[in-house]
Symmetry: C2
Subunit: 349 residues, 2 copies
Amino acid sequence: MPLTNAMQMIAENRLLSRWSDLLERRPDQQNHPQETDAELVPLPDGKNLLCTTVDTIAEEIALGFYRYPETIGWMGATVSLSDLAAVGSQPLGLVVSVTLPQDADPSFQEGVARGLDAACRAAGTFVLGGDTNFGQAASITSCALGLVPADRLLRRTGCQPGQLVYASGRLGAGSAAAARAIMDIPEKLYSESDFRPRARIEEAQHLSGFAKACMDTSDGLVATLDQLMRLNQVGFEITAGLMDALEPRSRRLCRQLGVPPLLLLAGHHGEFELVFTVAKEDRDRFERQARSRGFTPLLLGRTIADPVIRIAGDPPRQIDSARIRNLADEAGGDLTRYLMELTQIVTGT
Amino acid sequence: MPLTNAMQMIAENRLLSRWSDLLERRPDQQNHPQETDAELVPLPDGKNLLCTTVDTIAEEIALGFYRYPETIGWMGATVSLSDLAAVGSQPLGLVVSVTLPQDADPSFQEGVARGLDAACRAAGTFVLGGDTNFGQAASITSCALGLVPADRLLRRTGCQPGQLVYASGRLGAGSAAAARAIMDIPEKLYSESDFRPRARIEEAQHLSGFAKACMDTSDGLVATLDQLMRLNQVGFEITAGLMDALEPRSRRLCRQLGVPPLLLLAGHHGEFELVFTVAKEDRDRFERQARSRGFTPLLLGRTIADPVIRIAGDPPRQIDSARIRNLADEAGGDLTRYLMELTQIVTGT
């Protein structure tokens, strides 16, 4: 897949593209760069693909988003398990490399382990092993491993205009958790342990045969739609009510802060839901089957030919998603500036 | 495998044992903690095991052992590929998470990529994907993935008294590289790029059917023998000449510094050779077969019933390997103290 000009507009894509230019690729790797949330290698059985992905959490800890070791462990497992979910994979397990703060007492390690274990249980999997280091600041890197039958694989590519776009659940919890840290919100309004997103492993199993493109919202809804837009050269029209798209605690926080719901959908600290498209003619069958399995996907809107992200209304409103995505890079670690500029973009001021 | 008192004497084993106590284990995982260099999970084909391992390199960079981005990339790939070698696995690829220094120019990323690519080529494998972060200091975490047929698996356990112990090649290069940094040795005597250890993937393929226990020397020869001693409740008698066991550049450095060769075999910065035992009756067949494939293993000595590490001689000399292994923890990052105390231990002063 050549990196289009549209892809190159995003700083993160340029960075990844440089690695791809520099590193030789395994000839039978089953995904091009950016095309899937996890890397895919064929296995000798001729049926399954090995899925793998690696993610480091360091900045979120340094910024104070994750102060509890339990959160570090939970998120350490969830970030990579969520990538497995987005390709439709069932996890085999994960390996983790944990950097413990030099001055931490043993309860820190115990907390990280509790969080890791709880997130693995929620996804029906296990930590297989790992590596421990000591450093100035805590960080965690996890590598999740899983299998997917080649004919059940979900990719980021494959959507076309005229399809429906869904999220696997209501959104905004990632931004609410970030807001808690940035704005120093009282615990009773939103507490750090309110943010325990589950990797949507099981839900992803219900998408096979329906989803035409799938990606997790690890960087928030707007970044996810933006990337799907650039990869597929389609746009998105959001017809769902934005306040209604927020999960209840995030919605309550949104109201109490008096900020527009789009702010919580545009923030880069995502909630690890899956965003995917479904053909219109499959809608009834998909929704019925999902409901029968206790899974209620949220209809966000539809794909459109124009490569933009638009909120339906009179008049409709276009979101400058490239500016939103590049904001995190431009603001560096200056969260106040980030929040101010993001607010300006989403309110159009 | 219960953690014996002998295992608990080593700080690193205690740390790993705490994780094992805290985390639920996958019921069909094919290795107990510490029993293999990589984690093992059965695959649906009923024949192959998936092998995986994760390692972070941060301290070596902070200590100045790896100043060139090429070294960081090379070592980032090699540490985890070497663990695959030690279980007899053929690699499928690796995923890497790289933290680039915030202030580094693009040539840093290019250097890391060149090193990663070169180490992968040397092992016949590829980087499948990864994650990039920016931080105060560079670090790299790699997770290697591979396959091994269950009947060709190499474990750390299974050796008994009366066997021969080998290394896959001459030793000391890791310590020489560390000495270069600690003692600020001129480039012409030992340069950073002299240290490019190769993961012994191919050599490990020749061990199947012969090796009774196998482990890589990622923490140096003495730590490796010590761990094999504790896991197997056997001891080791080194009969090889210690100077002869050093690889040529390390030997030259050893002579020029006027330090005992044991210092280079006892240092914690290993050289990523494999140490393994072979039954005496298999010696001729093993050595002949190895040579016919261009592989010349180094005979180090033999396993003994007494759980100690002993250097043959008149009188024989016992090495306090527990003290050596725990020294890295006790000295923290104080390299001068580390080197002084290690010298005292190996010279018996």
